[in-house]
């Protein structure tokens, strides 16, 4: 039997989509969470000096999206055909670009850096959000299945539902102009395996 160990912080951030794939798949895994104090002692053990890392039978795999794709494909949450898999990847990559676009706002909003939160929300977050959310709403509309790619949940859907939930926690009503995305979040979170996971997972601020 394969042994999986996720090395990450006690945060959702780049680890949560991976955890939710394990939850959907009903797959046990060791959910290691480093505190900020412990982490420096382990940094040199990690292939690229960063987290998350997924340890699979002793082999350490870095990079959140590489891990997400690896477990997504292994457990069938990454798209059913090769073209669908590429489409799921494309959405995941677009999310990374989007995260980079609003990073300047995010680090201030969660207290990692000083700055004018209001000003950055308006100048950085809102334009980035509108561009991304419009594209995703359009994809949901034209795909017509309630999911972003194909006719069942993939890790692209997890990236979206986790983002909408997280940003709504930070700024209530964040996605209210995008009813299709609110509906999508409800749909994903109601999947029984996820519903149970969400009710029992450890809390994290983001």
């Amino acid at each position: 039997m394969v042994h999986y160990k996720l090395h990450y912080f006690g945060l959702y951030a780049r680890g949560e989509p991976i955890r939710q794939v394990f939850a959907l798949a009903g797959q046990e895994f060791e959910d290691t969470r480093y505190s900020m104090e412990e982490w420096p002692q382990h940094k040199a053990d990690m292939p690229f000096g960063q987290l998350p890392v997924l340890e699979v039978d002793g082999e350490l795999l870095p990079q959140s999206m590489a891990i997400l794709r690896f477990v997504g494909r292994r457990f069938g949450y990454a798209g059913k055909t090769d073209v669908e898999q590429a489409q799921v990847d494309a959405i995941a990559d677009q999310f990374q670009d989007y995260f980079n676009e609003f990073k300047a706002y995010f680090v201030v909003a969660v207290g990692f850096a000083p700055g004018d939160k209001e000003q950055l929300f308006n100048s950085v977050m809102i334009p980035a959000r509108n561009k991304m959310f419009q594209m995703l709403s359009q994809i949901l509309r034209s795909n017509g299945t309630g999911f972003l790619v194909g006719d069942s949940v993939t890790y692209a859907d997890l990236l979206l539902s986790i983002h909408v939930a997280g940003m709504d926690g930070l700024t209530p009503g964040f996605a209210n102009d995008y009813p299709r995305l609110l509906e999508h979040r409800q749909r994903v979170e109601s999947i029984p395996a996820l519903k149970h996971y969400l009710e029992t997972r450890p809390f994290a601020p983001f």
């Binding site: 990079q63 590489a66 794709r69 073209v83 494309a90 594209m135």
Partner: protein
């Protein structure tokens, strides 16, 4: 969704019968894949090199800066590169690179090798984001300030961190390539990036002799050597 955008979603069903007839030519051959990008290397070149390394045909569509605005709305995320496969449009350079590489066996031979190829590509993307302020200023696409001081404050620390990891990886892997024992698209992507970096700053990678040897090794692969000699010469 992600289809070529020439019909609205509501018309899709009625178009299906006719469009499938269009795609199956009388020769019964599948249409080659079509890559849309600028007339440059940028984030499109590694994809082209995957086709070349695999010896596979593709349509290499290159938009000029003047033409591009007219096509922007056709692209799923308003950007290029985009790969068109049987009428389906796939955006995002890494998603395309992986799709094409997988098809031709250049994405890693086992699932963990594939994950490692992905990890190297993603680490490269992080590096690319980190150096952006200097890189785009040096290439003339942006003006984030004084090129030389950006080089010192932005590029040098990022470079050292990134290439240290890659050299460690090469040493651990031992085949002369980043993953497995033959070239993958991760090798093509990083070697091509190094090409642009060395054009901008010829001495900047002197501290990384294994990486310079790696770049040469990739460029000497026969199909890549041939492509480099014959491809359009562009500044980026």
């Amino acid at each position: 969704m992600f289809c070529c955008g020439y019909c609205t979603p509501e018309e899709e069903d009625s178009q299906d019968a006719t469009s499938s007839k269009k795609n199956n030519s009388s020769l019964g051959k599948k249409m080659p894949m079509k890559l849309y990008y600028f007339d440059g290397r940028g984030t499109g070149e590694a994809i082209r090199q995957v086709f070349k390394l695999a010896g596979e045909d593709f349509e290499d569509v290159r938009f000029s800066m003047d033409e591009w605005p007219k096509h922007k709305a056709d692209m799923p995320f308003g950007q290029i590169p985009v790969l068109e496969v049987d009428g389906m449009m796939i955006p995002q350079s890494a998603a395309i690179g992986r799709y094409v590489a997988k098809k031709f066996g250049l994405a890693g031979k086992t699932p963990t090798d594939q994950a490692w190829v992905d990890a190297c590509v993603d680490q490269f993307k992080d590096h690319y984001t980190e150096i952006n302020k200097w890189y785009y200023t040096a290439l003339g696409f942006a003006n984030h300030g004084d090129k030389e001081s950006l080089y010192k404050s932005v590029y040098e620390p990022a470079r050292d961190k990134f290439y240290d990891f890659l050299q460690k990886r090469l040493k651990k892997n031992g085949s002369g390539f980043l993953v497995g024992n033959s070239a993958t698209w991760a090798d093509l992507l990083i070697a091509d990036h190094m090409h642009t970096i060395l054009q901008l700053k010829p001495d900047t990678l002197q501290r990384f002799p294994e990486m310079l040897a790696f770049k040469k090794r990739v460029e000497e692969l026969p199909q890549i050597k041939k492509w480099i000699a014959t491809r359009p010469k562009t500044p980026f």
